[in-house]
């Protein structure tokens, strides 16, 4: 079954790169949706069902940690796996994201192989 994915990042460049990596990743990819912050992502999830979310942390309006917390507090979305893809590398933030329910954490800069390996362990 094709996997629909939501990419959440305030950088259009990173959204474009992650989209390209997903296409190359040899996974049964369905639709790829994009949002530029947590607020837009939550709005998108009201109308689109996805099977995977890749999210940045440092974003305006609503950061990735708050977005992750809201997602995991909502019965409708708490089972959707979310991988943080972010420049934020402090141990405290990594731990916070994993405790809130993120299934993976990829530091920027990343290679396509690192993203593919992370997804292979999740999908």
């Amino acid at each position: 079954m094709p996997l629909d994915v939501l990419i959440v990042d305030d950088s259009a460049a990173i959204r474009k790169i992650l989209h390209r990596v997903l296409v190359q990743a040899e996974i049964p990819l369905g639709k790829v949706f994009e949002a530029s912050d947590g607020v837009e992502a939550l709005e998108k999830l009201k109308v689109e069902k996805v099977g995977l979310i890749l999210s940045d942390i440092n974003m305006p309006n609503m950061d990735g940690i708050e977005f992750l917390g809201r997602l995991k507090a909502d019965d409708a979305f708490k089972s959707v796996p979310i991988v943080m893809v972010t420049t934020e590398g402090s141990q405290a933030k990594v731990l916070q994201a994993l405790q809130l329910g993120a299934v993976g954490y990829v530091r920027k800069p990343f290679t396509a192989e690192q993203i593919k390996e992370k997804l292979a362990g999740i999908i």
Binding site: A12, N58, P60, T87, E88, G89, S90, P109
Partner: protein, 176 residues
């Protein structure tokens, strides 16, 4: 907690972060040139500047300055498509490169200084302008050359309650 970070330490950390970003995501040639310290930028600048702020018990700013031509090369390498002129995509790409480099520098310094915050990047493109950060006594300037394109990163980080100085505020832009 250390009360001083040397210019050499800043240079080494910035170089390491730049090399990480260039090898993982850009694959552009990179020649590292000798760094130096300088006070406020005296010369007006033409081109692209991306600024990322750091806040916490220590605060500062990292800024990448490059020509429009190199900004297009950076964006082209990151997004794997050619750019002939600076547009929104190019500015976004330069901002993201700055975010990754300065973000990794911040993470490295957190081991020594404790938790620090990172601002959303700001990118400026224009002619004949200067940037100014209040309260910053000195910048460490780390120049690079990428096959004929000279560009540099300026970085400063000082204790937020540094005696005799205010904590740095986001850069102001002066257009002459």
């Amino acid at each position: 907690m250390s009360e001083r970070i040397s210019s050499e330490e800043i240079s080494a950390t910035v170089r390491s972060a730049v090399e990480g970003v260039f090898s993982a995501m850009l694959q552009l040639p990179l020649e590292v040139l000798p760094s130096h310290e300088e006070a406020e930028e005296a010369e007006s600048f033409d081109g692209v500047v991306a600024l990322v702020g750091i806040a916490g018990s220590w605060s500062g700013t990292g800024r990448i300055a490059c020509s429009p031509h190199f900004a297009c090369r950076l964006a082209g390498a990151l997004l794997m498509q050619p750019y002939e002129a600076v547009d929104e995509e190019v500015l976004d790409a330069v901002a993201e490169v700055a975010n990754m480099i300065i973000g990794n520098v911040k993470t490295s310094f957190e081991e020594k200084l404790g938790p620090l915050g990172l601002s959303i990047p700001t990118v400026i493109f224009g002619r004949n302008y200067r940037t100014h950060s209040a309260g910053i006594p000195n910048w460490t300037v780390i120049p690079f050359n990428s096959e004929g394109d000279a560009w540099h990163i300026s970085f400063c980080l000082i204790p937020t309650k540094m005696q005799g100085h205010q904590a740095p505020r986001p850069d102001a832009v002066h257009v002459s």
